[in-house]
Symmetry: C2
Subunit: 308 residues, 2 copies
DNA sequence: GATCAATATAACTTTGGGTTATGAAGCTCG
DNA sequence: CGAGCTTCATAACCCAAAGTTATATTGATC
């Protein structure tokens, strides 16, 4: 005997509110409607659910027991509705975000931390990757947002790009590095130090090559390569090596007195950091909320950096 | 946003069974039906519930969360159905039964105990009362079954009567009473003992008067009156007083060596013990089951008594 | 790319829940 | 105890939607 869950809901409402009319009001239906629903339920059950000819409508034992189940159904339904609302407002669910390792660890992660403090019900699925693969993941909808240093012109029409920071690289070194004390650093000062290089396939590695080419460094001694940001930071802190990093990353690290940048002007990359997503905007409300948050935070960060 | 609980059930079935077709089978519906129900639910929710263009149909986060609620609904519904089945088979619910105090305490209560051992989900609401009031309770449907010593002819057409024991009274005394040892007790032996009388308004009290009148006892010394069966038993056990009780009660008490009956023949009452209920048989399956049980048990008891 | 299985769509029927209007039946109270 | 009020039941209608079968699409798989 399969019962209609809506009937059980109605029964629960009636029992809870103590009357057929009140129950109808509670459910936002008309009184005759619930009256008939109850009759139908009674027909199917084959037993009376209310004591006949009693005015303060009194449920039978069975009626009471079924109303109990109806209450469960009502609550499950309410919870489901709540879940939907949360989801539609982008207050729950998950955002799949990925980016290049150095940026993610150096800048984005702290923004994500702030976001999670504000939205504890939203899960962030973070991963790392370089532009080509992340764009394909965006296409196949296995990724919601990519945060990449990229040349906007390189991007196909399929994607939307929102710049969050202008590209700007600096030469970084440990705090207390011999060169860091100088007010001006010249080319020949640099050449004697060895270099820490990002992974060879990363955009940053190309930036490093371009930068050093630009300032005339032909031959570079590479003392360490391939590590994550924290590896780079540790090696940097424990040696006099130099490296090329986005200024934003150095800026964040400066706060923790982990590293500093040399007062030497190097060419900026033609890539800019920004969020990439599908242009068709079939993104969840949650992703949109995350996106807006990131943009807002980076706007603030950009201002701070400009002042520095 | 109010969601249809049936949609959530369907969603749960699909997610649980891993496919739309299997889900449909699980619910005993056609595949197109559930397919459309899901579309409808998705329309209302405004978000996809399944990842598009994926063959082993995979729910989204929201889909999964809603399916969880659907499962709750499904389970509540199943439990409700189970409750109905139990009720219809008379395996749950309550029976309101009442009877005269002496019979209830002396005989019926142990039958009720057996019944409850067999049907732990059925509640017995027992109460005491004398015929007139119990019959009116039957009429007003505040009582399901009355167990009464009654003259069937006295009963109006409204009621149905089912005899469970023939009326038979005896004179009872404590085990070890001086008269109990004799093989034959004569009238003059009895007259010197005082009597324990049931409450004055009880049928049994009239039986006592009639009995003693019948055997020629004119003047009776009443030493105790008005108590319940256990009071009577205690007083009886602690004195040489006599009383008149239904043989069935004495029979049950004999098993516990609490009392015995005198070997003297007294007139039987024209009342018989039986179950009374409304003739229209608008009784719950539960009450019917109880009734059948009582009749069965008393049939056995009757045989035992006849042998004794 | 052909094939197979799973899902979606179409077209139609039927159930039943929604409504308003109205009738019947308990309760309350003078 | 009957007038009056409130609450519940019925009637008549409409329409949303669940159910059906038949068929088209679409992924997955080889």
């Amino acid at each position: 005997m399969k019962l209609d869950p809506r009937h059980l809901e109605i029964l629960a409402a009636i029992v809870e509110s103590g009357g057929l009319t009140e129950g109808a009001a509670l459910l936002g239906k008309s009184q005759p409607s619930v009256s008939r629903s109850v009759s139908l339920l009674e027909d199917r059950v084959g037993e009376p659910l209310f004591l006949a000819a009693r005015r303060p409508l009194q449920p039978t034992e069975l009626g009471l027991a079924l109303a109990q189940e109806g209450k469960r159904i009502l609550e499950a339904g309410r919870h489901a509705s709540w879940l939907v609302d949360e989801h539609r407002q982008g207050l729950s669910g998950a955002v799949r975000v990925a980016g290049t390792p150095i940026f993610m660890d150096g800048v984005i992660s702290s923004v994500i931390a702030e976001f999670q403090a504000e939205h504890p019900n939203i899960r962030i699925d973070q991963s790392y990757g370089y532009p080509a693969e992340l764009l394909s993941k965006i296409s196949s909808e296995t990724l919601d947002v990519a945060i990449l240093p990229i040349r906007p012109a390189d991007l196909s029409e399929e994607y939307e790009f929102r710049q969050i920071l202008p590209g700007r690289n600096v030469i970084a070194c440990r705090v207390g590095h011999p060169l860091a004390r100088k007010t001006e650093v010249k080319l020949e000062d640099i050449t004697e130090y060895s270099w820490i290089a990002p992974p060879a396939n990363s955009p940053l590695f190309r930036d490093l090559r371009n930068t050093l080419d630009g300032i005339g460094v032909r031959e570079l001694k590479i003392s360490f390569t391939g590590g994550s940001l924290s590896a780079v930071v540790n090696v940097l802190a424990g040696s006099d090596s130099l490296t090329v990093l986005p200024f934003s990353v150095v800026f964040m690290m400066q706060r923790q007195n982990m590293m500093t940048s040399l007062p030497i002007k190097i060419g900026d990359p033609d890539r800019h950091l920004g969020c990439v997503m599908r242009r068709d905007r079939r993104m969840s409300a949650t992703s949109n909320r995350f996106l807006a948050f990131v943009e807002r935070k980076f706007e603030l960060l950009d201002r701070l950096i400009c002042k520095a």
